[in-house]
């Protein structure tokens, strides 16, 4: 039973604020991801939980116990680093057993638990090797085993897949999720990769400039981001400037394109924010939500500017009425339009959403 709480945690480096009064709660067994570009404060947050960085203000508690000023070695955290950080002078088994040895666990129990942990990451047969004899993916699995074998209160993952190539990254994602859910361990994960965040997390906290700007489930983050920033950071988004013409709590909104008066679209479903009639905002939709050639729901005339084959899909770049650049997708089996063709671009009203204009978009 682990409940990790960050309460208004603040960290400055000289003049620069790294983390700005961040509050975050992880419930038992939950997998939460801090997602953001480099320099957004996500790693500093994680290192404060680990105890390597002391916050200037705010508290960090585990199960109600304040650990803000505890040194890292008294915190019971299992941590996995991007650089693996395996002890090069110790064998795989000795690396995994390191934390148990410090806890003075008996040799018999230590051997047993080491074996189980290596079994969990399917590396039992490599117990006697040295880290330098392993591949990157194997090293990170050893690091994972070493972190969980001590039965930590919280598992901290600091960009653990960052140093691996694409295929291994996908394999190890599955591995991490499997180990995490098998052990039911509360996990805080830091990444700049939206794919990892969407695939692994129970909840994602999108970070920007030291703040958490949105925290929600992966589907909510993807389908209803609350800002242009979040919408662009997680997946691709097509944005068009629109003006709200009708606002109805039940039926949703009717919006009109700013650059093409007379062209209106319906927006249905929950919106993360409230919009007023006459307000300028962005209409947003994901590439996969467009239906080329459709005449249902919202439609707009568009000219195909480029078609790219991507294996599982075709990427179609279009220029819609009102100079609105749109990128859409066609799945295998669908009709692939040709370049310069004029098509009808359609989407369901609930598949699009509205976003407040950010400060630089208002100008």
């Amino acid at each position: 039973m682990t409940h990790l709480v960050l309460d208004k945690v603040h960290k400055r480096y000289g003049e620069a604020v790294a983390v700005r009064e961040v509050s975050l709660q992880l419930t038992d067994g939950e997998f939460v991801t801090l997602l953001g570009p480099s320099g957004c404060g996500k790693t500093t947050c994680l290192r404060m939980v680990a105890g390597f960085v002391k916050p200037d203000a705010g508290t960090i508690t585990i199960d109600g116990v304040d650990i803000t000023n505890k040194p890292p070695y008294e915190r019971d955290m299992g941590m996995v680093f991007q650089s693996y950080a395996l002890f090069p002078h110790k064998t795989v088994a000795a690396n995994v057993a390191f934390g148990l040895k410090i806890r003075r666990v008996s040799t018999a129990e230590s051997d047993q638990r080491t074996k189980e942990a290596l079994n969990l990451v399917q590396l039992e047969h490599l117990a006697d090797r040295y880290p330098s004899q392993l591949s990157g993916g194997q090293r990170q699995r050893v690091a994972l085993a070493r972190a969980v074998v001590i039965r930590p209160k919280v598992l901290l993952l600091d960009e653990p897949l960052g140093a691996l190539d694409l295929k291994l990254r996908e394999e190890l994602q599955i591995e991490i999720k499997r180990v995490q859910s098998t052990l039911g361990i509360t996990t805080l994960f830091v990444t700049h990769d939206q794919g990892e965040a969407l695939g692994l997390s129970d909840r994602i906290a999108v970070m920007r400039d030291g703040n958490i700007i949105q925290i929600d489930t992966p589907t909510k983050i993807y389908e209803r981001p609350n800002s242009t920033y979040a919408a662009n950071f997680v997946g691709r988004t097509n944005l068009a400037q629109v003006m709200v013409r009708k606002a109805d709590p039940q039926a949703g909104y009717l919006v009109e394109m700013v650059d093409q008066p007379g062209v209106t679209f319906e927006v249905a479903g929950d919106q993360p924010q409230q919009f007023l009639v006459g307000e300028r905002c962005s209409l947003a939709a994901r590439p996969e939500h467009f239906d080329i050639g459709s005449t249902d729901g919202n439609t707009v005339e568009a000219v195909v500017t480029d078609v790219n084959y991507r294996g599982s899909i075709w990427n179609v770049e279009l220029l819609a009425k009102g100079n609105w650049p749109v990128s859409a997708q066609v799945r295998p089996g669908g009709r692939v339009p040709t370049k310069s063709e004029t098509v009808s671009l359609g989407w369901h009203p609930s598949r699009s959403f509205l976003l407040k204009l950010s400060d630089d978009e208002k100008i």
Binding site: M79, A85, F87, Y130, S132
Partner: protein, 283 residues
Amino acid sequence: MGGDGKKWGVFLLPALATLSFVFIAPICILIVLSFYQMTGPAVVGDEASLSNYVQFFSDPFYLRILWNTFTLGGLVVLFCLIIGYPVSYFLARSNSRWRGFLLFLVVSPLLVSAVVRNIGWFPILSNSGLVNWLLLESSIISKPIPLISNFTGVIIGLVHALLPFMILTLTTVIQRIEPELEDAAASLGAGPVTVFTQVLLPLSIPGAIGGSLLVFTMAIAAFTTPVIMGGNRVLVMATYIGQQFRTVLDYAIGATAAAILLILVGLLTVVASKLGARKVEAM
């Protein structure tokens, strides 16, 4: 490449010629000298034998000098390791703006002539010097402790002179140990002492062996410092060899001592580098 190598090899000739004249030739002559007997001041006979070596290893007087020399080297290495490690750790890990200045301080003993460096210790270590004055004034001791013109003085002088070599070697090695290894150990529950003994120390051993070897060979070969800081009372191999060649004019036994020192240092280097190589291999 082979043809090119030969062509450029010509440029090595001046250096090779100089080295063989000023380095290899004297050593060869010295070793040859050690097989002959002294027949008069600065003169040797013409009958080659091993009797000098037999004499050296059977006479307690010589063995005592050898023992002194190695004890001196060992103690200097030990103190350099103990004093140097924390400094090296700081230099390797710090981003402080004082880092450059500290590095300069570390290297500064090398910029001062050995004579000046040693003489500078007299006002501090002599019986009426700063250290003894402070200890006497604060009534910690009742009569001065001899800190210079003896074995202690030689150790202090050599640690001062050779510490930069230890620190520079250790710093490079500690820099190569990922800081995240220390974080990883701490997150697994290791306190600072355990991090040091379980992670830092084992990973520093190759560097420590390299630095120790460097300091040891320089310590046992040092001449100026034992002469000045030992006040002519400390007889180690280097000072003994100096005496034989410059005062006693027994070239034969002087050459024998020099040859023995050379061979022992050579053996030590081989053993230490084997040991270091094995440690590195295991990683």
